[in-house]
Symmetry: C2
Amino acid sequence: MSLQKPSIPKGTRDFSPLEMVRRNYIFDTIRSVFQLFGYQPIETPAMENLSTLLGKYGEEGDKLLFKILNSGNFLERRNDEQRSTKDPESKTENPASSIQHPASDPGQLDYKALLPFISEKGLRYDLTVPFARYVVQHQNEITFPFKRYQIQPVWRADRPQKGRYREFFQCDVDVIGSDSLLNEVELLQVVDKVFTLLGLSYIVKLNNRKILSGIAEVIGEPGRLIDLTVSLDKMEKTGMAPVLEELRQKGFTPASVDALIPFLDFASEKDFPVCLPFLKEKLQSSATGREGIGEIEKIVAYLNELPLSGRVELDISLARGLNYYTGCIIEVKAADVQMGSICGGGRYDDLTGIFGLKGVSGVGISFGADRIYDVMNELNLFPGMIEATTKVLFVNFGMAEEKYCLPILARLRESGIPAEIFPDAAKMKKQLDYANRKKIPFVVLVGENEMKEGRMTLKNMHTGEQELVTLELLIEKLVN
Amino acid sequence: MSLQKPSIPKGTRDFSPLEMVRRNYIFDTIRSVFQLFGYQPIETPAMENLSTLLGKYGEEGDKLLFKILNSGNFLERRNDEQRSTKDPESKTENPASSIQHPASDPGQLDYKALLPFISEKGLRYDLTVPFARYVVQHQNEITFPFKRYQIQPVWRADRPQKGRYREFFQCDVDVIGSDSLLNEVELLQVVDKVFTLLGLSYIVKLNNRKILSGIAEVIGEPGRLIDLTVSLDKMEKTGMAPVLEELRQKGFTPASVDALIPFLDFASEKDFPVCLPFLKEKLQSSATGREGIGEIEKIVAYLNELPLSGRVELDISLARGLNYYTGCIIEVKAADVQMGSICGGGRYDDLTGIFGLKGVSGVGISFGADRIYDVMNELNLFPGMIEATTKVLFVNFGMAEEKYCLPILARLRESGIPAEIFPDAAKMKKQLDYANRKKIPFVVLVGENEMKEGRMTLKNMHTGEQELVTLELLIEKLVN
């Protein structure tokens, strides 16, 4: 065991007490709102079988999966299998027999051929695929429509950069087994409640994949919805010209690209009363497009009855990368800070199909706790009072005083007051410094005089004021 | 994307809503007690550098680490390095040059030689080593004595069996930077508070590594504390004879094994007033042994002033496997169920030394949430009321009623009442079944009559009783 300079893997983080208290404030708020709307918690394992994860996030996603090395000496198995294929007696066909090294360079190894022998499990990449897997696996125990929430970390082998981590938390909330638009409306109410409680002004952007389908249809590229949405997704970052250029390179006809321009010109117009008639007219020849508009109209009608505190906009350039969305798509941004989306999601009609359960529609959103943290930090929105984890510190003057104080501490804790005593009879300055650094708002001093009188000196660390109090008065002053 | 029968890796678990609610009840209780005593939360990443983990848990532990495959094609790097060592121009010395395959079998791979190219990160195996790493890495930001708690999953590639999982949660609470025995006492108070709140009867077993050192000394095997404790640890399972046999096989002299017998004979005696004088006499020649007894005496004196609700015993066969313990060791068992320990820990004097911070003493315990869950389940200790996550379901009769009900739902949620409306106007039976399966205790029915009268029918799902109520009365009945 040699001396090591301690560090953690790049892209991962330690959370200090102050960060934890603030993060828990966000998680607790989100969790309390999910529960208020009747969503139930589940958790799934950090590790999933690679077969569950692979192919669900596109080729790029597959590369970003953290894979777990099989336990034991996995090469033994491989070497054994290789030996057995060399055995002329062996009659079993063996897929591993294809693993051979070029005779010219016996030291060379083939990565792809080796991989299946090395790893069978991966860390979860998001909460959606594990949720779909969960629903199919437990379909007979589940009460549908299933309203579930899940708050857990996910891992991605992305290149770490500012605001992008290799381990981060997602807070997902979904309803599965109901195609009622009331679910979309409820999720928007959840968004409103969460950000209202956190004191964070927000803007909701809405769109509908069926509107995007309709656009693909009417511009004459009905089969290329995915190509279209992938390019549209970049609109906000790059503006219109590069999007059009990319579509041309993808082989969209000049006529179709020209036909798209009026839509993109219109993308900056976000008001429903202006947008909806425009789209209705433009998409009248597309049944799917009309359906998408109808869904947006219904949601808007609900919201007129139950207004949100934040602004809700239609954004026809909103595509959201993930291709499993089939209906309404939602994205939430902070109103007062330039930052990516802090929440997003949408409706998917066949997420569980890949695991064998067809025709189950669902809708869900995911809150990005890390981004929300950054926004709240930047806007100074964390309430100061959450930072004090201990309400009162008893200064330790020695054995006799300890004995006197310990039952009092027990009484305070009985009353729900977080209380501690400094564990050593250290110098007064050290003990008060400890209280200050821990942001403990009150200190109790009990010396000989106090013990004789059956009272305590209560010091307010903020004002410096001191007063003599009885136990009853102490509890009264600290409880709340 | 072919159809897959969904499953999860062996030894891992999904947690359903009911399990989650019960688990969260345990976690929330433990967390609230930690906070009541002034412990502050931290979290560390799931992945640590392998250099942080390897060599900390013994040879067996190293094998049980889940290792993460490096991203990208790690073999390319290895192949490159191998090529470069064949290059006569290359002057850099390369440790990878030793990786060669025996010429006789070019297909054979050497596991140990390949490993460093494959994996540099591992999943955390416990919370103690990451905590030690954290303390050293953040020593300049930390206020000592540092009272921290940490509730996170850990992963071990153990053979799964009943009650043993490959992913499970630990709830650790430690004070580091103080050698006061008051910390040990406080941790015992934490134990008492947690299990009292959970309604679980417990027994605490205490011992002290210094007493074990003293025993090793006086039997004439002073240098073999670890061998002694590893064998002693099996005493409870196997009884005395196999322990003695194992020590003989380890090369303990016949005289030392004979000298140990009176101690083991005495191990069933757990009362301090009987035990302590016996040990004092037996260990009088060992300064370390006397010190250990003195520590136990002080803790017992504190506990006489602040009695715990559970029984506290001295158990000189209690060794606890981990070799970093140096002082008091603690183990807690359920009083009414045969189950392994549900909480345990002890004092360690140099845990941070390996990471470069010497001479910092700490003491901590870890609650095993999974075992506690099993005990509470077996004894039926979970309160029924925690299972209802939603307080009231509004039956959905259609668009007009929805519109009428949605603002009422919003009002209930404002009052902190978890409330939901069935998302579709499905058959009444289906909606009531949903409420029953979700254990929702109340249902509200609003039809034409109710809308006219401005009232609602509130149905108690338990008794079947119905009554007409106003919004105010509804809130009054559902709140709390």
